[in-house]
């Protein structure tokens, strides 16, 4: 039973031994064991209260019957009856206190566990690399952090509450009932095992049907998500009718499954009604003749009725336990699939750890070497035996056909991926021996596809400064160097506000910012949708420049920028990156005559190296590509 609960196949599935999963699950419980223990104590108290009230009811009935038979003195009887009433009231008050405390002590740790797991998940997610993220559907990930964590909380709090409560209720209830009459107890409890069995069976069926309903529901959500994020495509190709049909099919299927579910749920509800009344029924069948026969007093009869009714709820609650239990475990397994994942990229052991030589002005840094680097995302090799050396302080370019592996190559520098073979060194230090975050804090990466956060333009630009400013685990301090060549008596150190302004200028964003009525405080919309393509790219450029990187990587970062703006940007870069290394990936040739070296990539190999002129001279792939552009132009003019 335990095995088929583990989560389904999928990009996120991970084989974690059952023992390990359960150990982890227990560990959260142990973390808050005192809360839970206290909760159990209060549950015992509540149940004691609950099962003591019938005693007084029975006692009162007894007294009244005595009165009817004229056995005792009336005044005394009245006094005793008042005492019985007061006892019930006192019990009620004590019970309320115990009940409040029992719920708080059991539900609170549930929330604490939820809090812990959410944080741990987030921190784990922050450690995982694209190799994990790319195939993982965003919806699936968010659902694990939200819905599954919720199921797990419910698991801890409610299973504990109900299981303990039911056990305690049965123990106390049977004990009390046995004190009244053992035989009658056995008779009255006779149907309970069957009813319990029925309830558990229905609970189980409900659980499996819930799974079906849930997966149907998540298909609906996936459809909506896909439709919404691809909305411009949906509109451009006018396929919304098709989308509506697809949605309608999913919607109908969901309805069907939900109706199966309703049958089971209705069954459970009907059963609940039976459980609530069956005890009294049996008591009537068996007990009434006993009372008449004089074996049982009427008071005991009524008291007994109080017990069987009080057992109804604990019995019924077992119906939910099955779902909660299994859903919680399955959800936990899905969570463990994330928590137990080892990040593919890890910091070196402390004793192996090296540092980069510090950045000083006037000293050229940012030498990049690759030794025989081979890499593939999966089985297929994307980069093969890459050997190169980029001298410190130089500007180089990578060109090559679409899909030749340019982006992949520079991603190896950032350790978003590690090479399968070979070594990458920066300023002589193998990057595997650098702490990952130290390495990344030295890089300025402008990705090929600009991604912004739905913050203001200013917040997006200063995105990389936050860690340097506020995170103590990052050694690097926020740079203060100017981004624009200062005049002879201009300050050498600038505030971040000033640097942001300069970054705006350097990235050529000034006219754009000026045209926004909110200027830098303009909110850019999800992923930056309200900016033009080129504006987005330049914001990401400014973001990278602001951290004063040792190595700047522009992955086709100016493809949506016009040539004029591009020239201006490149001129500025000459100053900012004067002692640093810049790596430019591009499909445009106009910038290539200003770089120190061009690497031509073809199908994952470096096929040519040299300056523009050398490469033209040498002939080959580069010269061909270049001629083609030129040729097209010739044809037109």
């Amino acid at each position: 039973m335990t095995h088929d609960d583990s989560s389904d196949e999928g990009p996120l599935s991970l084989d974690v031994p059952l023992e390990e999963r359960r150990r982890k699950m227990r560990s959260y419980f142990w973390r808050y064991k005192w809360w839970f223990l206290l909760g159990a104590v209060f549950l015992v108290l509540t149940n004691l209260q609950k099962f003591t009230i019938p005693v007084y009811i029975g006692y009162a009935v007894e007294l009244m019957q005595q009165a009817a038979e004229g056995e005792s003195e009336l005044e005394l009887l009245r006094a005793n009856l008042v005492w019985a009433a007061i006892a019930v009231v006192l019990l009620a008050i004590g019970g309320a206190i115990a009940r409040i405390l029992s719920r708080i002590t059991i539900f609170n740790p549930g929330r604490y566990i939820e809090f812990d797991i959410r944080n741990e998940l987030y921190e784990k997610l922050a450690d995982l690399t694209p190799a994990f993220y790319d195939p993982a559907p965003t919806g699936d990930l968010t659902s694990r952090v939200t819905n599954d964590v919720k199921s797990v909380r419910v698991f801890y709090a409610l299973t504990y509450l109900h299981v303990i409560n039911t056990a305690v209720a049965y123990a106390i209830g049977i004990w009390r009932m046995a004190q009244v009459d053992l035989q009658l107890t056995l008779m009255c409890l006779l149907p309970y095992p069957f009813l319990l069995g029925g309830i558990l069976w229905l609970g189980q069926a409900l659980f499996y049907q819930t799974k079906v309903v849930q997966s149907q529901l998540s298909e609906i959500s996936t459809k909506i998500q896909e439709n919404l994020s691809g909305v411009s495509m949906v509109k451009a190709y006018a396929i919304q009718d098709r989308e509506i049909d697809l949605f309608s099919d999913l919607n109908e299927e969901f309805f069907e499954e939900k109706m199966h579910y309703a049958v089971l749920q209705g069954g459970l509800q009907a059963l609940v009604g039976i459980v609530a009344a069956v005890g009294t029924f049996i008591l009537l069948v068996v007990g009434s003749s006993q009372v008449v026969g004089g074996e049982l007093s009427l008071g005991a009869f009524v008291e007994f009725n109080g017990y069987v009714v009080a057992l109804a709820f604990p019995t019924i609650s077992m119906g939910w336990i099955f779902s909660i239990w299994h859903r919680g475990r399955a959800a936990f397994d899905r969570i463990v699939e994330i928590l137990a994942r080892e990040p593919e990229i890890e910091d070196p052991d402390p004793e192996d750890q090296l540092d980069l030589p510090p950045l000083e002005s006037g000293r050229s840094l940012g030498r990049v070497e690759m030794d025989d680097v081979t890499f593939g995302y999966d089985d297929e090799t994307i980069l093969e035996n890459i050997d190169l050396e980029i001298p410190a302080g130089s500007t180089v370019a990578f060109v090559g056909k679409t899909g030749s592996g340019k982006s992949t190559l520079v991603e190896l520098l950032t350790r978003l991926y590690d090479p399968d073979e070979g070594e990458v060194r920066i300023d002589g230090t193998p990057i595997e021996r650098l702490p990952v975050r130290q390495l990344r804090s030295e890089l300025g990466f402008v990705p090929q596809e600009p991604l912004l956060f739905s913050m203001t333009v200013r917040q997006n630009i200063r995105f990389g400064l936050d860690a340097l400013d506020y995170d103590d685990t990052v050694e690097r301090q926020a740079p203060t160097t100017p981004l624009i060549q200062p005049g002879p008596d201009a300050p050498r150190e600038l505030s971040q506000e000033e640097r942001i302004e300069q970054a705006v200028d350097v990235a050529g964003l000034r006219p754009d910012i000026d045209s926004f009525s909110d200027g830098l405080e303009t909110i850019v919309g999800e992923r930056g949708v309200t900016l033009s393509g080129g504006q987005k790219q330049r914001v990401t450029l400014a973001r990278a420049l602001l951290v004063d990187p040792r190595i700047l990587i522009l992955d086709d970062a100016l493809s949506s920028v016009d040539t004029q703006t591009e020239q201006v940007i490149l001129d500025h870069l000459d100053y900012i990156m004067r002692d640093r290394t810049s790596i430019i990936l591009t499909h445009r040739f106009n910038a290539l005559d200003r770089v120190d070296c061009i690497y031509v990539l073809d199908e994952g190999r470096i096929v040519q190296t040299g300056t523009h002129d050398e490469l033209i001279e040498a002939g080959g792939v580069y010269e061909e590509m270049y001629r083609r552009q030129e040729l097209e132009e010739d044809l037109d003019t």
Binding site: K235, G266, A270, F516
Partner: protein, 629 residues
């Protein structure tokens, strides 16, 4: 609770310094912090319920039938204590067993019948409710499909998702069981009150003395509970927004070593969320326990007062027992009512948000009797078009141009000049503010929107691939596109080479947003998408920006051969792409400043010529004589 020690064991120790980080960080820098709390409108509860009724209406017969079953169910349940009373008074106390079988039989019968009817009622109600929800979900989806693009730019996907999933779900609880159980509870309560008053009005009045307290206390706690829940709701939305953005942008977060800062932000929101929940647990526990206690106190009162009545011979012992049983049944619905009421409240709040979305009438206006689509090929005219996304920030000023049938027109200009905006207008993603756009002389606002758009094929600047196979991404699941068209288009844009590399071929999986393809490859796929749809007008917005020159040339050939008759509009920064166009428009700050063929513009020696110079700075050095004609 003072055991706050437990809380400090939270999280791992390696990040012990996080609290320090908290203090320094200025507010509002957090990811997702610009998430605007949604303002709730002032829709009346009643209005919302009335509007919800519209969805229930088609199923009203079932619904009413279920309502009719409710008194039956309650009656059968309330019969049970009465039968107990009869058994005690008429048979057990007098010691007379003859005939009790009938009473017991009736008791058993009531149990079974109640179960059966309850089942029926539940099933039918679910059927009606779920049907209504299917309709609602469908209407929401279709409604959202009709919103203009601008709506999606202002509304985060996450929020729309929440409307269409979470809120619908919370309505589900109310529609398919909440309302009816609440009605059932009310009927039950009334039934009990009536029965008790009938059995012994004195004892009944004594028993009900607690009611005012009960109501006051419930109202009191409910107020605090509602506050707590409201807080929980806003926090959960922020938590979600933060998570969602973090997951999509995790690579960037990592590259800018912002993991810890982000995790701290997340932790802060998470903590507020937790604390709001702890508060709600507290109020909820008190409400629950106090209602329960009041129930027991009432039993005390019944014993105190009722026993006197029994002793005085005013009521029988059986009545007293029945009273206690009725009272036990009385407090369960009362307690549930409070909970159901909360559920209903949140359902109404969800309903309000859903209706706000449904009320959003932002729409690309459509005419009642659309003009028939014109004869192909298309002649497209922009007549003095003005446009602004936000008031007064003119993005296009007086744009005026014409595309003859079969002509290739190119748009060039600075970034942010408004090139993509022109496409947005042509596709009617937005409508012009002033001026008009004509196709063969008819204003494009006259056409049926869907029909009009389907004559275009666009490769947008932001390529979108969805999770699915390569084939699906090209055909967009259009079954009418045959293999041959697909293969021809793929071959033309070299997607076939890509497909051959994959084991799964055409069925190879594309990951979300095309994460497992290179940027250029993504553009090729969306180019193929444009070609297989065999459009009247081809629109390319930087469609080859991430593609190398070789491949680009091949793409151009493909367009030339496959779509030679079609009108096309091309935007490119790489001038080599557009030099052969029939006409080039140079856009600057929303205005067309130059127009003509490549040759004419070079001759003109204006803005275009400067751009061209810059782009071919290298080429002019190596091949001077050829260019300088």
């Amino acid at each position: 609770m003072t055991t706050s020690d437990d809380q400090t064991t939270t999280g791992d120790d390696s990040r012990g310094d996080s609290s320090e980080t908290d203090e320094e960080r200025p507010d509002g820098v957090a990811i997702g912090s610009n998430f605007k709390e949604e303002r709730l409108g002032d829709m009346k509860d009643w209005t919302i319920i009335k509007r919800l009724w519209r969805f229930m209406r088609p199923y009203r017969v079932t619904f009413l039938f279920c309502l009719l079953l409710l008194p039956v169910i309650s009656g059968l349940e309330l019969l049970q204590p009465h039968l107990l009373q009869i058994a005690i008074d008429n048979y057990i106390t007098p010691g007379e067993l003859e005939g009790i079988g009938l009473v017991i039989g009736a008791f058993g019968g009531a149990i079974v019948m109640r179960a059966g009817i309850q089942f029926l009622q539940h099933y039918l109600m679910q059927r009606a409710g779920q049907n209504a929800l299917v309709d609602l979900r469908q209407e929401l989806f279709e409604h959202v499909q009709d919103r203009p693009l601008g709506f999606f730019h202002d509304t985060p996907v996450g929020r729309l998702m929440a409307r269409m999933t979470t809120d619908v779900k919370s309505l589900q609880n109310a529609l398919s069981s909440g309302i009816i159980t609440m009605a059932g509870d009310l009927i039950m309560l009334t039934g009990i009150v009536v029965i008790l008053l009938y059995k012994s009005w004195r004892l009944a009045l004594v028993s009900f003395t607690v009611l005012p307290f009960l109501i006051a206390i419930t109202a009191f706690f409910r107020h605090y509970l509602r506050e707590a829940f409201r807080e929980v709701r806003t926090k959960v939305a922020r938590l979600y927004a933060h998570l969602q953005e973090s997951i999509t942008g995790m690579e960037i977060i990592q590259l800018f070593v912002r993991e810890h800062v982000s995790a701290d932000e997340y932790r802060d929101i998470n903590e507020e969320y937790r604390d709001a929940n702890l508060r709600s647990i507290r109020y909820d526990a008190m409400l629950y326990a106090i209602v329960e206690a009041i129930g027991s106190i009432t039993i005390g009162a019944i014993i105190w007062y009722g026993s006197g009545q029994v002793l005085d011979g005013l009521i029988t012992l059986g009545v007293l027992v029945a009273f206690i049983e009725y009272m036990k049944k009385f407090f369960v619905p009362i307690r549930d009512l409070a909970e159901k009421y909360n559920q209903l409240q949140s359902a109404i709040a969800s309903g309000e948000r859903i209706f706000q979305l449904l009320d959003n009438e932002q729409k690309v206006p459509e005419v009642d009797s659309p003009a028939p689509l014109p004869e192909r090929p298309f002649r497209i005219e922009f007549n003095n078009v003005w446009f602004a996304y936000n008031d007064d920030e003119w993005v296009l000023r007086d744009v005026d141009f014409e595309m003859a049938p079969g002509e290739r027109v190119a748009l060039v200009g600075h970034t942010g000049a408004g090139k993509s905006t022109i496409i947005n207008l042509l596709m009617r993603f937005y409508d012009v503010d002033r001026g008009e756009i004509l196709v063969n002389g008819t204003d494009i606002r006259e056409f049926d929107l869907q029909a009009y758009r389907s004559t275009f094929a666009v490769v947008l600047q932001d390529v979108f691939l969805f999770e699915g196979t390569i084939r699906e991404n090209i055909t967009l699941r259009d079954d009418t596109i045959d293999e041959e068209t697909l293969h021809r288009a793929a071959e033309a844009v070299h997607v076939d080479e890509l497909v051959e590399r994959y084991e799964g071929g055409w069925e190879h999986g594309v990951e979300e947003r095309g994460a497992n393809l290179s940027s250029g490859e993504k553009q090729l796929v969306s180019f193929a998408r444009a070609l297989v749809h065999q459009p009247e007008v081809l629109v390319l917005d930087e469609a080859t920006a991430s593609v190398d020159a070789d491949t680009e040339a091949l793409l151009q050939d493909a367009v030339e051969t496959l779509l030679s008759q079609q009108t096309s509009l091309v935007i490119a920064h790489r001038l080599s792409t557009i030099e052969s166009s029939d006409r080039i428009l140079v856009l600057d700050d929303g205005e067309i400043i130059e127009r003509g063929t490549h040759g004419e513009l070079i001759e003109l020696g204006g803005h275009y010529e400067t751009l061209h110079e810059l782009q071919y700075a290298t080429s002019s050095e190596t091949s001077e004589p050829k260019v300088a004609e």
